[in-house]
Point group: none
Chain length 413, copies 2
């Protein structure tokens, strides 16, 4: 079964609002084993809506539409659907009108005349009750295709899909299990070349890569007759990908890097502190993204000024004078100093030039030194990171946690 | 002039990633007076890409495509474009290959064979240099339509559009000026009711509100024959909105809150430090988002553990024992302590319960105390913030900077 998702609204086509509804619905369909072939976004334009619905119904068995069901003059999805249904009339539905009047009564408000349009539906279609707002949805049959129209307000749309539409959909012909493995330490092309044979198109499980927030993520999509079989296929693929990518593999889920570091510390019952310059607190923020991080994270120092590096972390005046704040010796002394001051087992530090100003031939924008100090560990790493200020800072913080992750892993063996 | 935007990627059609590129490009086109008629999203499928480009080129004069230019087997946009161009061959571009080799050399890495595909372009098309990554873009003519293909990585796409593509586009028929005024301290409906008469539809300038990242933002869109007239209209509307919203108005642009705080400090030639518990470093990170923040930001302490509050910030054991770490007295002592230790003019602190665990009847998840210490200023503020862990932390950091902003403003008068 193939689906097409249509979103309607000038605020979407003009880019003032990012469309999150289509992604939500695609994920929901995916969970039901229904493949989304494409998304389309059109403006508040009757003809465009009718055209999109007609085209989608010719190409897919399921068409989900969101937006344009409001009470104002720019809401034209019901009219567009009526046109796509061969120019049928809009007919008032007494039950929907009563429900809407009750909705306003419960809120102590009077229904204005404009809302009446929200009780009008193309002849031959079926209203779908909205438990969260005034805009009822619409179900219609267009040739072979089932068309469902939902309001654009995300909370109303999500509720309506979950309660009223998903139960109506035929179970997909196959079960789908998706896993996403985040990696760090190399480029997408390196990852791709290690997985080249697995990434051939039209294979099952399907394996693809994406780059986001400095991580290269490997997506594994397994399809099978039932969920258990799909899960087994996905597990096997993830194991194969993991063994090929080795230490690059950080983990799965949100905050994968911080979670990997946290798991390493928790396993050893050890504590961590941070010492940050160019990242300004971002490493600490990332470490504390996962709940429960207070089990191992004691805190840190943001030593943006040199005086703070000296007074709060014990970096020697001489080291600063001889090597400069952005240098390997300072990264080492920051990490050691933080570890000592807090009495922690581990410390990670970052000092660098995030730009856009402050770079030189010898020390360019993007130059970052990472220090890692721990039991029997005293490391410093030099990076020259590409990107703008925001990207450099994010990559520096991620690289810092990755060095810590690898140090924790090495000490484990 | 009409545009259609196409995004490519299985991670988009399946909903694993929300497409923000299309909205970004639509906003950029809007600023150039070019109307975006629709967006389309297709998967990593050569035929689907070719079909979408062909259909779009038949309907619009400008087609912008993002994604699918990577080095791996699931990146098929260049092949899809070649098919849409009538099945032309892919031809290697020596200059692009050299640029890519230099990119890897600069980063001390060796280019793998897989990357070579990124220097191949449909015969008759033109490569577009990528200053941020290995994926060059592609410009092509398809019938009447200009087609531009960009990488999907947002930072690369944005830079390429701004530097290489936007300058090539014809000026639109009317000038559009957009301004966005960020506010903090009240809800969207409060802002809306102060601006009700200005927010009527189909007016020019058009005024709307959006909520994002804890800020309520007021969008002003002015259209006129020429840029100067549009700018004058927008300026007048912004002045009117600002006078109605008063102290709620934080400012415009990226990092508006941090920039407002920075401007206040710079004006007075004063310095700032941070003392963070539940925010874990996020306040410091936000303060240092704008370049040049080292002019006034000395650094901070992340005192996640109580021992760190005591040892590094001088919070008294008795205060912690009597009131608990999440309390008004501790927020005050954290700010005072940080200010003294660093010898700064101002300090801001946050201590709270970000959840999901750790809440109680008396101290629920979302409870956050903010401390502000400065010349003649010793404040503490209590908040109970809604949302999940991530939202609570972001709101706490934003609220902390807002209290500091208001304190700086008050001391100014």
């Amino acid at each position: 079964m193939k689906a097409i998702i249509i979103s309607v609204g000038d605020e979407l086509t003009s880019g003032q609002t990012v469309d999150t509804n289509s992604a939500h619905l695609a994920r929901e369909l995916d969970g039901l084993g229904i493949h989304t072939a494409r998304h389309m976004t059109v403006g508040d334009d009757r003809e465009a809506v009718a055209g999109a619905i007609t085209a989608a119904a010719a190409q897919a068995e399921l068409v989900l539409v969101t937006g344009g069901l409001g009470p104002t003059a720019d809401d034209l999805t019901r009219q567009g659907l009526a046109d796509a249904m061969g120019g049928v009339e809009l007919v008032e539905d007494a039950a929907s009108l009563a429900a809407m009047e009750a909705f306003f009564r419960r809120r102590g408000r009077v229904m204005v005349a404009a809302n009446r349009i929200q009780a009008m539906f193309p002849a031959g279609s079926t209203p779908i009750a909205n438990s969260r707002g005034t805009a009822a949805g619409i179900a219609a049959k267009l040739g072979r295709a089932d068309v469902y129209v939902m309001p654009g307000v995300p909370v109303e749309m999500r509720r309506m899909f979950a309660e009223r539409i998903a139960p109506e959909l035929p179970a997909g012909t196959s079960a789908v299990v998706r896993r996403v493995l985040h990696t760090f330490g190399t480029g997408e092309s390196d990852v791709g070349s290690r997985l080249a044979d697995l990434m051939a198109r039209a294979t099952n499980p399907l394996i693809g890569t994406t780059v986001a927030a400095g991580l290269v993520s490997v997506r594994v999509t397994a399809r099978a007759q039932d969920a258990e079989a799909a899960r087994a296929m996905a597990d096997a693929a993830v194991a194969e990908v993991s063994s090929r990518l080795g230490d690059w593999v950080v983990g799965e889920g949100d905050h994968a890097m911080a979670a990997a570091v946290g798991a390493g510390l928790r396993e050893r019952g050890q504590t961590l502190v941070t010492a940050e310059s160019c990242t300004g607190g971002l490493i600490g923020k990332m470490v504390t993204d996962p709940a429960g991080s207070s089990d191992y994270y004691l805190g840190g120092v943001v030593s943006y000024a040199n005086a703070a590096k000296r007074d709060l972390l014990g970096v020697r005046e001489q080291t600063l004078a001889e090597h400069g704040a952005v240098s390997e010796p300072v990264a080492r002394e920051m990490a050691r100093g933080a570890r000592e001051r807090f009495g922690a087992d581990w410390a990670v530090s970052a000092t660098g030039i995030a730009g856009p100003g402050g770079g030189s031939e010898e020390k360019p924008v993007g130059l970052v030194y990472i220090g890692v100090s721990g039991p029997g560990v005293d490391e410093a790493h030099r990076h020259v990171l590409p990107g703008d200020r925001e990207t450099i800072r994010l990559r520096a913080a991620t690289a810092a946690l990755n060095h810590l992750r690898l140090a924790l892993r090495a000490k484990q063996h």
